[in-house]
Structures are given as C-alpha cells and as structure tokens.
C-alpha cells in the first residue's frame, strides 16, 4: 500500500516519562512529500516528540503521551487504534543503525514483511531488491545479500540497510531520529542525498542536532526548546530558508547564531 501526499498533523502533543513531563502541547504539521527538520539543543524533547508521531514513545516503561496526531484525517491516538498498525504506516530510522544481527541482509530488508506473513519468496526478492535500490545499497551488496549478516556492513551501509528495511513495508511517512550522527561525513553525505531523493515519494521528518544538515536537507524547520522547567516546547516552525535567515522568534535567532546550545 503506497500512499503519497500524506502528511502528519500533531495537535497539542504532550509526553511524560513517569511523572516527569518531557514535552508540552506541541502542535505542528509535517508537510506531505517534504522534509521537515526538527532542531534544538540537547534535551529539548525533539526525539521524544518524534517518537510520539508513531507511538513509539509509549513503548518505554512508564511513558505516556497525550494529544492528537492526525494521519490522513485519522487520529492515531484515538481509542482502539492499534499502535502496531500505526507503526507500519509511519516508519522510523534510528540514530544508531540497528540491523538484526541474526539475519542476512536480505532477511533484514524483508523482516517487516516476513513476520507479517503471506508473501511468496519471489515477491520478497523483488521487494527487497527494489528497496535496496531505493536505499542506494543494491550495488554494494547484490553479490552477498543472501549470505552476509546484516552486521557485516560498515556503519553507513548498515544505516542504508535500515532505511531499506523501513522502505520495504511501504510506509507513508518516514521518521528519522538523528540518522547521521553515528556516521562519518561521507556516509552522512550519501544519506542526505538519499533523503532528498526519498522525499519525492515519502513524507519525511528528521530530528537533527546539526543545523547545517537541517538547512541542506529540509524544506521546513521546527525549532524546539526546553527552558528552565526542562519541558520541551515548540518555539517556531516555518520554511527552512526563512527560519535560518529571518526567524520570527528571538530565541530561534539566538540558537541559530550559536549564542547557546
């Protein structure tokens, strides 16, 4: 199921770890088929917010979230909505590449499909090859993809493998949590290129602490900040070019120009 042109609308999303409130009433739109970057200093809640967008936040023991997140008009936090199905449609790539060590490259890519069941092996081969092409990894692994373990690849290749794995289940939205911070500059560059290609088909939200990356890669940028009470809030969101050259908020300007964070 490929859905294009689908965005996310977050409305008053708050999240807690146990009793501690981490983010407070964040409302913003992730524009369809665009890249939205979420920037901010460490601890501002940007990763927490991202994880609320596909209901991964509640996986942590004692964590909960409130608010609404609309995907295609449907609130994913509505009662009786299955979080598992939500995560199939809103995929996530993590900061540290996490391929499954006991599976080959091929098995990693199709893990999301195989565990759902109902695919013939030729279909799986085709889907996996397509996903690896789209993740710009095919040429490097096509000779060993059914023999080599997922963790036998370099860091940058592992991250592209994780992206291929996410692409294989055909999500509508891809969330990326600092996908390049564990990678070297060349690997980073390739992933950024990949993101620019992917946005033609997918809606992407990327959390990054690297402002240059945000300005290179994204169409919209959201700036979050946790002030004295250590609760993260949205400060402003706008087209990237505008946020970086002419921000509306003083705090944004201070952060961008390096006065803090």
């Amino acid at each position: 199921m490929k859905t294009t042109g689908v965005g996310l609308q977050a409305r008053e999303v708050s999240a807690w770890y146990g009793d501690r409130r981490a983010i407070d009433k964040v409302s913003l739109d992730i524009a369809p088929q665009q890249v939205t970057a979420i920037i901010g200093p460490s601890g501002c809640g940007k990763s927490t917010f991202l994880r609320c967008l596909n209901r991964m936040h509640e996986v942590v023991r004692g964590a909960r979230a409130e608010g609404q997140v609309f995907l295609n008009g449907q609130d994913i936090y509505a009662p009786r909505i299955d979080a598992v199905r939500v995560r199939r449609v809103i995929g996530m790539v993590f900061q540290k590449p996490n391929p499954f060590p006991m599976m080959t490259i091929f098995e990693n890519v199709v893990a999301g499909l195989r565990l759902e069941g109902g695919y013939r092996s030729r279909e799986l081969d085709q889907i996996a090859e397509r996903a690896l092409h789209r993740a710009a990894l095919w040429d490097e692994v096509k000779d060993v993809w059914k023999k080599a373990s997922g963790i036998s690849l370099s860091g940058g290749q592992q991250q592209r493998l994780c992206i291929a794995r996410t692409l294989a289940v055909e999500p509508a939205v891809i969330l990326m949590d600092e996908p390049c911070s564990a990678l070297d500059p060349i690997a980073t560059y390739r992933i950024e290129e990949l993101i620019t290609e992917l946005k033609q088909e997918y809606t992407i939200a990327i959390v990054t602490h690297n402002m240059q990356q945000a300005s290179r890669v994204s169409d919209y940028t959201a700036f979050m900040l946790a002030e004295a009470d250590r609760v993260g809030r949205l400060v402003e969101i706008g087209p990237t070019s505008q946020v970086f050259t002419n921000p509306a908020e003083r705090r944004t300007e201070d952060y961008i120009t390096g006065r803090f964070g």
Binding site: G91, E116, S149
Partner: protein, 297 residues
C-alpha cells in the same frame, strides 16, 4: 635539573631485587598456584575415573544389561538408554517452561509487577530445593497416586523440576543482554510484541538458550537422589516410561555400594560413561551453536 633527574630515575631499568618486582613475582606465583590447584582437582577426579574405569569399557558394556555379580560381561546398556530417555522427557517439560518464565521475567515485567517478583522468587526457591525433596514430592504425586508404581516418567518430571530454574535464569540473563535497539527496530516496523520476542529477540539470544539447555541437561543427567524415589532403576532394557527405568547415576550407586569387587570396577566404568555422555552432549551443542554463528560471512 629536578625534572630531568626524576625522568632519569623513572626510566632507569628496574633491578630484580627491587621491592616492586619481588611483590609482582610473588603475586603472579600465588595466582598461578590457585589456578593450577583448581584445575588439578578437576584433573584428579577425571583422571581417576578414566584410569579406574577404562578397563571396564568394551562394546558389550554399552549394549548389554547388567549380569549378577561374579558373572563376566554385562553392561550398563539399559542405564544409558534410560538416562537419555528421561533427559528427553525432562527437556520436553523443563525447557519450554523455563524459557517461558525467562521471557516473562525479561520482556514483560522487568521487576515491576507483583507477579514477576513472585515468579522470580519461586524460581529461586525451586533452585534451592534439595533434589531428594523434589524426589519425595514427585513420588507422592506421580508414583504413589497417579501411576501406582515406580516409573521413568516420574523420573523425567523430577529432572524437569531441577532443570526449570537453571534454564529460566540463564535464558533470562541472555535475554536481558539483547539490546533494546533491536526490539525498537522490530516494533518500529509494525511487528507486534510477541512476534518481536519470538522472531527477533529469541533468535538473537539463541546461543544463550542452547547454553542453558546444555547446562541444565548436564546437571539433570547426574542427579541421583530423585531418581531413586521415582524411576527406581531397572536391570533390564525398558523403554516404557510407566515402568521402572534404569539410569546411569542410579546404576553407579547400585554398583558402588555393593560388596562385589567386579561391580566396583563396573561402577567406575559407568561413571566414565556418564561423564563422557555429558561431555558429548555439551560438545555437540557447542558445535551446533558454532555452526549457526559462523554461518555468516
């Protein structure tokens, strides 16, 4: 200059009679001695068993039933078969229950629910139960009440009870070692929790699970007390689980406490067979795990 002199002192070669080198040498000797002592105990036991028992080994020893004292020949065939059969029964019950308990403790509750605390505590209790007490319990339940006679199935069950805490603890430790990043990766693909555990976490922990099975089988294979009260022992080949069944530890016990010298020799032989059996089981599983891990380039 002060600094230069200190530097010269530090970099000068140390003499053998300097205190630091003597202490270092002494400490090395002491630690080596302790290590050797530990290994020596094992070597003494094994060596003794091998030396005393090797004489009794011959093809008949493995395949034939015991003969009355004084008669030449005979063997521990029934005991070998019985031990293997009861270990199989024990594994059928012990491994799934132990793994299930481990999954529960590691994946779902992680010490924050009353049920988890209770389960954890109970497993520790079972681990601490004297094996003879387990034997008495299984005797009362399965031998006296349910079946009506000594039987191998009860023997297998008593061994299962011994296996459960070992499997549960070892597998729990291994599951806790699987990084959360893998669980998150699986959940983020829209894979439900139970499939994540079964198809991602457990396979990643497979080496630990196999180790747990080997450890528990090695322990259970050598238990004698509960078998005396449940399987009783048998001088003849018996595959029927609901009749008394022979087992190597029991056979060793019977041979050893007899007054007959030739039976004593057979006891050593049986002990050697038991140790060899456990060693083979462990080696075979290690090989299987190694193949699985090295299957990747």
């Amino acid at each position: 200059m002060l600094a230069e002199r200190k530097l010269a002192e530090l970099l000068a070669p140390t003499q053998p009679w300097e205190r630091r080198r003597i202490v270092n040498g002494l400490a090395t000797v002491v630690i080596l001695a302790c290590a050797v002592a530990a290994v020596l105990v094992l070597c003494l036991i094994l060596g003794h068993v091998v030396v005393e028992g090797i004489g009794a080994l011959n093809p008949d020893f493995f395949t034939q039933s015991p003969l009355p004292p004084g008669e030449v020949g005979g063997g521990v065939g029934p005991a070998v078969v019985g031990t293997l059969e009861m270990l199989a029964v024990a594994s059928v019950f012990g491994v799934p229950l132990g793994v299930a308990a481990a999954i529960f403790l590691a994946e779902f509750q992680q010490g924050q629910s009353q049920l988890a605390t209770l389960v954890s505590f109970t497993i520790d209790l079972i681990a601490g139960l004297p094996s003879i007490v387990i034997g008495v319990f299984v005797w009362a339940w399965l031998v006296r009440n349910v079946v009506g006679n000594y039987n191998g199935f009860a023997g297998g069950v008593s061994l299962a009870i011994i296996m459960i805490p070992i499997v549960a603890r070892t597998v729990q430790e291994t599951l806790l070692l699987v990084p959360d990043a893998l669980r998150e990766a699986s959940l983020a693909l829209g894979i439900p929790r139970w499939k994540t555990i079964l198809h991602v976490v457990l396979p990643t922990a497979s080496a630990g699970v196999i180790t747990a099975v080997v450890l528990s089988m090695a322990r259970a294979g050598g238990e004698t007390a509960p078998l005396l009260l449940t399987a009783l022992g048998n001088q003849f080949f018996n595959l029927d689980l609901f009749q008394p069944m022979a087992a190597l530890p029991v056979q060793i016990y019977q041979y050893a406490r007899s007054p007959y010298v030739d039976w004593h020799a057979k006891a050593w032989g049986a002990a050697l067979v038991l140790i060899a059996l456990i060693a083979c089981l462990s080696a075979a599983t290690r090989w299987a795990v190694g193949r699985r891990m090295r299957g990747f380039t």
